[in-house]
Subunit: 150 residues, 2 copies
């Protein structure tokens, strides 16, 4: 199942992937559970907010990004073992119902794990874009990736 291992990842390599259609129903469902602020739940309240209209929770955008990333990992057969953390997230523009999201990723750094000899740590930067090509979110993340079995 795994085809791409730590050794195969190249710094500077870029990829474009994903297609996520943002619906009003999902925006409100996610916000109702996890981020019940007026600008994520109610059109009228959202008009007066800094966002100008009902928009997705930033954490919902992270979740939608993650779904695109996991689908892409599986398609590639990337030997990803999870993540120790995130170096930064910038929510650049609101994500509105009707938007279609996609991702551009770039591998920016890699190093052997000091504590786990069978894996390496990889840094990547992702730009999440809407259907107009506008960046809605930038995420700088870390992944643990298995080394090729001996």
């Amino acid at each position: 199942m795994f085809e791409i291992f730590y050794e195969d990842l190249v710094i500077g390599q870029k990829e474009t992937f994903g297609h996520y259609e943002v619906t009003r129903e999902e925006v409100i469902e996610f916000a109702g559970k996890y981020d019940p602020q007026p600008f994520h739940l109610d059109e009228e309240a959202a008009k007066d907010s800094v966002f100008g209209g009902l928009c997705a929770s930033g954490w919902h955008t992270c979740a939608m990004m993650m779904r695109m990333m996991v689908d892409h990992m599986k398609e590639r057969g990337l030997a990803s073992l999870g993540s120790p953390g995130i170096d930064g997230i910038e929510w650049k523009r609101p994500v509105f119902p009707g938007d279609i999201l996609s991702a551009e990723g770039e591998t920016t750094a890699k190093r052997d794990s000091a504590s786990r000899p069978k894996l390496g740590l990889v840094k990547s930067t992702y730009h999440i874009k809407n259907q107009r090509g506008e960046t809605v979110m930038i995420m700088r993340g870390n992944a643990m990736v298995a080394k090729r079995p001996a």
Copy 2:
């Protein structure tokens, strides 16, 4: 409705809040939608992972944290207007079904917004803890907070 404004926030101020019971059903539901990796979906596969057992997506932990934060903001009447981004997230320990999460937050910095005179930008660090007092996640975030109306 708003009672606490930008002017009222004090650097170094700490707060403890939240009570979120993590269920197996919710872990699998979130992961099925947004992070369908084996260690978030399947007990058997999770045993062999670096996490040692079925555990919540890190993004799910962020979402549960956000729910605790929003409930706490509403209780306090904090004039929060959303967030421009996150300075860092560390997933320190797995979050397992049955865990009960809570949060400790500290205001670490504040400054007037250069572009929006009616609000200020506030930095805070949150430690998300489980029922044993172990930190499962650290998040360093930014919030836009309204200034007190003149």
